[in-house]
Symmetry: C2
């Protein structure tokens, strides 16, 4: 029996597109991992009538659980708790213990506030300490507590509702205690024992995978018991499969068919990313970057990971030709002869970065990200790569990527990581 | 009279959080600019019943316009057009001209497909060329045409519905012709003449702005006729105000109050970003970067802009101490004496980058992004900056940023741009 949930994201800044919502996708992923089927995510602004309409919609759709994010602040336009309480026909009551708890937090965070009892700060605390009758508070990690309201059966049943704050850090930190609360635990206990596995491929087209899946359907009985989604991102094709544990054999069979057809393109079946695999492939070796068209994106991606200073020595963004010569020792006459976007220059950049930064490995990019700069011979999207590994001849390759400047730069960054891993694994 | 709209984003990969939706925010922003009040954004997977429920919900909410994205591909799980047609009680008909048009596009994009009439490709084309009776096609920029279905009055009125493909590039390219179609133009003609203006501040707290707005409310009559939203992003505070043209005087008055209170923190009132302002402030001068904790993010941000090669010469990501010495001439004994995270090293890095890359301006960052590496004296989040401008003493400053590694790196990148602009404007 499947448990269904809906997510409501509130906030005019999200509805109007000024802030990209992080909470909907995050909550959806968490609920999926708990075996819950997320049917709808809805986004509304700070208007109570629109929030009420979305609550009504989800309740009428028969979901077992609604999770909301946002609208828990101390100011007058933060209306989620009051609106949900009215929807559930529950009175709001001040929880004195919660009021003290919030006041303590504010005292700790903002020691310069002289008198909490004066004026707007106390009004704000009292507002945040109001909890619907019969509901329980989720302890705050910021200043805003969350709320869990148990389901009510009846003619128009109301599902279990979890109210969480908008800042993603707070919401994520409070999620686990919301999940552990008895009303939510009860809903989750009815969820199926679901698994979710990811196969990642690089250099594989969606149409090719679709054809293999059609073929698999003729070969594997009950393949339709698996819920398969494919998605293309930054040039990588992910296939995510959800299934109940009793269908694990069907998934294993599917994985065998996929590996049989596309083994050379599949780089991950255990959820690991190419960034994870690069660390493994480096195996203690150090790396440097020499970037032209990616302008620092590869270095930024390598250093995004905590602890990366152990193996990333640094890099050079050689945007101008002078920078290529002065900082990476690319001969000016090589640039004149072959052009800055050439495999010769890519090789010299990678070798220069490895020598100058004293690393075991270096990767380079030089290309035309657009929109200008393309020629008939080297159109926008043309990128040359170099991978220099200590003790081996430098590897170079030219690729052509579709799309606008941002897309070319992103695809180039992902391609560079795949090329480094492939070369390192070629021992 | 206000025109209300709803947006439906379809796609299991979006619903399950594996891909962040770009279309909801983009469409919302476009509709706002056209004076339309977006009431709801809803997200569903590839299940027809859930899409139908969302269409019913929005229609019952009385919206004048629904825009959907996604589910227009050639495969069997792309069901948007069929589902919407059924919702509107309109039959699907094959449009032979559209079929030819799509076939032409596929011939151009994939010349290696030998015979379009064979098998699955032709089935897919026929599927994409089906249009509900009485609807019109929006010419495709990929292979999937969009659809515009006119509103129908009655007991349960159906609003005007625009169906667009999921890939953001295609959706955005097709938007303008969807907007120009007669049914949509008719809806938009009823929209109010709305304006939207943005004030951007740096170094201003939300609470300070809230207090100023409360003060403005006592001073300005009818301030509540403006719809004001504030949002904090990467350390910048944006205040976006929507108002009808006849309330322009109220907005002008508000702007005067804001400038009076926070003139030194407000850096933009015309919608320009700090990235835009950096170009103006450079005024033809060239720039280089020297990055430690930001690891290439500043260079990547500077080079994200088309044409940036005219003034960005490049940069050095000096993650290791050796890289700081070897590539930026930071004396090793300076690092030993003051630590890599020090204003002395930041100054030397900026000066080294300016000299090595031969630029007029250079900016440097060296700091502790975390989670490790913090000390009592220099906790995680401590960052030293240097700005070197030809002919002036090097400016340095130390800041402390809150949050995790990603947040510290992002806040540092934004801070660096603000510091460069401030120093350039200090002529």
């Amino acid at each position: 029996m499947s448990v269904r949930a809906g997510i409501i994201v509130t906030g005019t800044e999200v509805l109007t597109g000024r802030i990209a919502d992080q909470n909907g996708p995050w909550l959806s992923d968490q609920l999926l991992a708990l075996g819950v089927d997320v049917a709808h995510i809805t986004i509304c602004g700070d208007r109570p009538a629109d929030l009420t309409a979305q609550l009504r919609f989800l309740a009428d759709q028969g979901v077992d659980l609604i999770v909301t994010s946002g609208g828990l602040g101390p100011t007058a336009d933060d209306l989620t708790v009051a609106t949900v309480a009215e929807f559930c026909d529950r009175e709001l009551l001040l929880d004195p213990e919660l009021e003290d708890h919030i006041a303590d937090i504010i005292r700790r965070f903002r020691p310069h506030i002289p008198d909490l009892d004066a004026g707007p700060t106390r009004v704000g605390i009292r507002k945040q300490a109001q909890i619907p009758v019969g509901a329980s508070a989720v302890p705050p990690t910021g200043t805003a507590p969350g709320v869990v309201i148990p389901a009510v059966a009846g003619d128009r049943p109301v599902p279990t509702i979890v109210i969480l704050p908008g800042p993603p850090g707070e919401l994520q930190a409070m999620w686990h205690s919301a999940v552990a609360s008895p009303p939510v635990a009860e809903v989750l206990s009815r969820a199926a024992d679901l698994r979710q596995d990811t196969v990642r491929a690089y250099g594989l087209h969606e149409a090719q995978l679709a054809e293999t899946l059609r073929h698999a359907d003729t070969e594997i009985a009950d393949l339709d018991r698996l819920e398969i989604t494919t998605c293309l991102r930054h040039g990588e094709l992910d296939m995510v499969t959800r299934y109940t544990t009793r269908d694990a054999d069907i998934y294993r069979h599917l994985l065998a068919v996929l590996t049989d057809h596309h083994g050379d393109r599949i780089f991950s079946t255990d959820g690991s990313t190419i960034d994870d695999q690069l660390i493994d492939a480096l195996d203690g070796r150090s790396i440097a970057t020499a970037e032209s068209c990616t302008g620092g994106l590869i270095a930024a991606r390598l250093t995004a990971r905590p602890g990366s200073s152990a193996y990333v020595m640094g890099g050079v963004v050689s945007y101008s030709n002078d920078a290529k010569s002065d900082l990476l020792d690319v001969p000016a006459d090589m640039i004149a002869a072959h052009g800055a976007v050439s495999e010769q220059v890519a090789a010299a950049m990678a070798e220069g970065a490895r020598r100058r930064l004293g690393t075991d490995v270096a990767v380079s990019t030089t290309g035309i990200a657009g929109p200008g700069g393309g020629t008939a011979e080297k159109p926008v999207g043309t990128v040359c790569f170099g991978v220099s590994i200590d003790g081996r001849p430098t590897y170079t390759v030219t690729r052509r990527f579709p799309g606008d400047r941002e897309r070319v730069r992103t695809l180039t960054t992902t391609a560079a990581l795949h090329l480094v891993v492939a070369q390192l694994e070629r021992q």
